[in-house]
C-alpha cells in the first residue's frame, strides 16, 4: 500500500496513529527496528545505511503485494531509513492490517524477514575512527528461508 524510503527521521507514534486511522481493521500488527549499540563490532557509535532507493521502493512494494496475497491484508506500510543514523533511532517500521491477528502477525514477520535480505540497503557500523560493512547473519538467512515454501505461518 505504502512504501517510504527516506533520509528523514521517523516519528513512530505519528506513523502508527495515521495508519490505524486510515485503515480501520480488526487486527493491526507492527514492528520497529532500531539501531543497536553493538553489532559485528563490540560497540557502535552510529550506523551508515547506504541505499539504492529506486530499487528499494520497487522491492518493498513487491514484498507488500506478496504479503497481501498470502495473508489477505487490508493494508500494509513499510518505512525504511537510510543515511546516517544514531544508536536508538528507528531504522525500519512495518505495519499490517487484517481481519484476524494470525494474518496480521504472520504478514508483519514475513515483511521483516524478507526485506532484511531482499531490499537493497547496506549497513556500515562506525566505532570511533573505525568502520566496517555489516555481514549478512546466518540467522537472517534462516528466517527468510522459512517463507520460501509458500504461505506457511510457522
Amino acid at each position: 500500500m505504502t512504501v517510504l524510503v527516506t533520509k528523514d527521521s521517523i516519528d513512530l507514534g505519528n506513523l502508527y496513529q495515521v495508519f490505524v486511522e486510515r485503515y480501520p481493521s480488526a487486527a493491526v500488527a507492527n514492528f520497529a527496528g532500531h539501531v543497536r549499540d553493538h553489532g559485528d563490532r563490540e560497540s557502535v557509535d552510529c550506523l551508515e545505511l547506504e541505499a539504492y532507493p529506486e530499487m528499494a521502493i520497487s522491492q518493498l512494494t513487491a514484498l507488500g503485494v506478496e504479503a497481501t496475497s498470502r495473508y489477505g491484508l487490508h493494508a500494509w506500510q513499510v518505512v525504511h531509513r537510510y543515511g546516517e543514523l544514531s544508536v536508538g533511532e528507528p531504522i525500519v517500521w512495518v505495519a499490517t492490517a487484517a481481519d484476524h491477528r494470525a494474518d496480521a502477525f504472520a504478514a508483519c514477520e514475513f515483511l521483516m524477514d524478507t526485506l532484511k535480505t531482499d531490499a537493497p540497503f547496506w549497513k556500515r557500523e562506525h566505532s570511533g575512527q573505525e568502520s566496517s560493512w555489516v555481514k549478512v547473519q546466518t540467522r537472517d538467512l534462516e528466517r527468510k528461508a522459512r517463507w520460501l515454501g509458500g504461505s506457511d505461518t510457522a
Binding site: 539504492y52 532484511k116 531490499a119 556500515r124
Partner: protein, 92 residues
C-alpha cells in the same frame, strides 16, 4: 566508451557498498551495443578496466540487478536498461 548522455542508446550502471568502494565510482553510463546484450557481457567489458574492477565483479557473493530486479548473469541487457552490482543486502 563512456557516454555522458542519458538517452535510449545507453545503459546506466550503478555500484553499491563494497563494490562501489572497490571500483571507486558510484555509477557510469555505457553506449549500448550488441556486445553488451547480457549481464555477463557487461561484466566482461567492465572487468577490463583494471584488477580492482575484475576482482570486484568476480566477488563470490556479487548480486546483479537489471531494472531493479535481481537477475542471473545470463539475463539480457537492452538499450536504456539500468544495471547494478552490489554485495548481499543487510537492511532492516
Amino acid at each position: 566508451m563512456v557516454s555522458q548522455g542519458i538517452g535510449p542508446t545507453v545503459i546506466t550502471i550503478k555500484f553499491f557498498s563494497l563494490i562501489r568502494e572497490a571500483v571507486e565510482v558510484e555509477g557510469l553510463s555505457l553506449e549500448w551495443s550488441p556486445d553488451l546484450s547480457s549481464v555477463a557481457m557487461v561484466k566482461a567489458e567492465l572487468s577490463q578496466r583494471g584488477a580492482n574492477w575484475s576482482d570486484a565483479l568476480s566477488h563470490p557473493n556479487l548480486i546483479q540487478a537489471v531494472n531493479h530486479k535481481v537477475v542471473f548473469e545470463d539475463n539480457a541487457v537492452a538499450d536504456g536498461d539500468e544495471l547494478a552490482f552490489f554485495p548481499p543486502m543487510t537492511g532492516g
